[in-house]
């Protein structure tokens, strides 16, 4: 794929119900990175809705419950960056996280507030 553009939309597949609220908003916990500080997302530019969900079907034995969509612009506004590795195709990681746990929590919170929830 081409280099990540600021107008692109990324998604994070959600496998745990507690990561979103009953009012269809996303919780910060959905965006807290793992220990390697690389938050797994997918680029969905040019994909139809069924193709987007098909991405998530191949990742784990269980299908995702939903997904949180967020614009690259919103990611960059928090000071984070998107590193596209295409492994698997369309995969990227949100990187550039701070070291402090509370600072990570704040950035995850900012991402969640900008994300849009789609349930399967």
């Amino acid at each position: 794929m081409n280099p990540v553009d600021v107008t692109e939309t990324l998604l994070r597949f959600l496998y745990f119900k507690n990561h979103y609220r009953p009012d269809q908003t996303v919780r910060h916990s959905a965006f807290i990175p793992p220990q390697d500080r690389r938050l797994s997302v997918f680029r969905i530019l040019g994909l139809r809705e069924n193709e987007v969900w098909a991405l998530g079907e191949k990742l784990r034995p269980e299908p995702p419950l939903g997904r949180a969509d967020i614009n690259v612009a919103a990611v960059r506004e928090t000071g984070l960056t998107v590193d596209a590795d295409d492994i698997p195709p369309r995969h990227a990681n949100i990187v550039g996280w701070p070291d402090e746990a509370s600072a990570i929590k704040l950035k995850a919170m900012e991402l969640a507030e900008q994300a849009i929830l789609h349930l399967k």
Binding site: N18, R21, H28, S102, A103, K105, L106, M109, E113
Partner: protein
Amino acid sequence: MSIAIPCIGCDCPSFLTRPSGVGGDRGYSEKIIEEIAGMWSPRSMTFGGPLGEALISLFAVYKECSQADWDGYGAAPITADAYDEVQKIIKLLPSSIRMPEIVAEPTGEIGLEWRRGRGQVFVMSVSGRHRINYAGLFSGNKVHGSEYFDETLPVMIIGHLRRLYS
């Protein structure tokens, strides 16, 4: 209406003391659920609705997230120490502060979340190590930090909660 009744001597429910081996002890888990359910009965005046709901939610999250990879991305399990610490915090919340939502975090911390609306949210998280990590958004203003916690809630934390609902 909520009425707080102190636990004295042998009357203290078991889930208000440190649980041991909750993750693998199905019998103990069921005992906890029965006790909480009992406190919700019309005959019981021990807990108001919101407190009981928060404790039930806490236990449900703990039970669901006590194994590794509970989120599908390699999340760390939530420990009994974190569970104990959140129970303690919930009991220390001022009565003027509404009960939080319980949130499991991939680091193994348990988060307490208050959200008033878009861009107005405060979360504090613990892992059972006497340290509260918190972050908040207040309509464009941001805060984050870490506070030591032992027997009382840090004044700063209470201040941020009051700010959220001011």
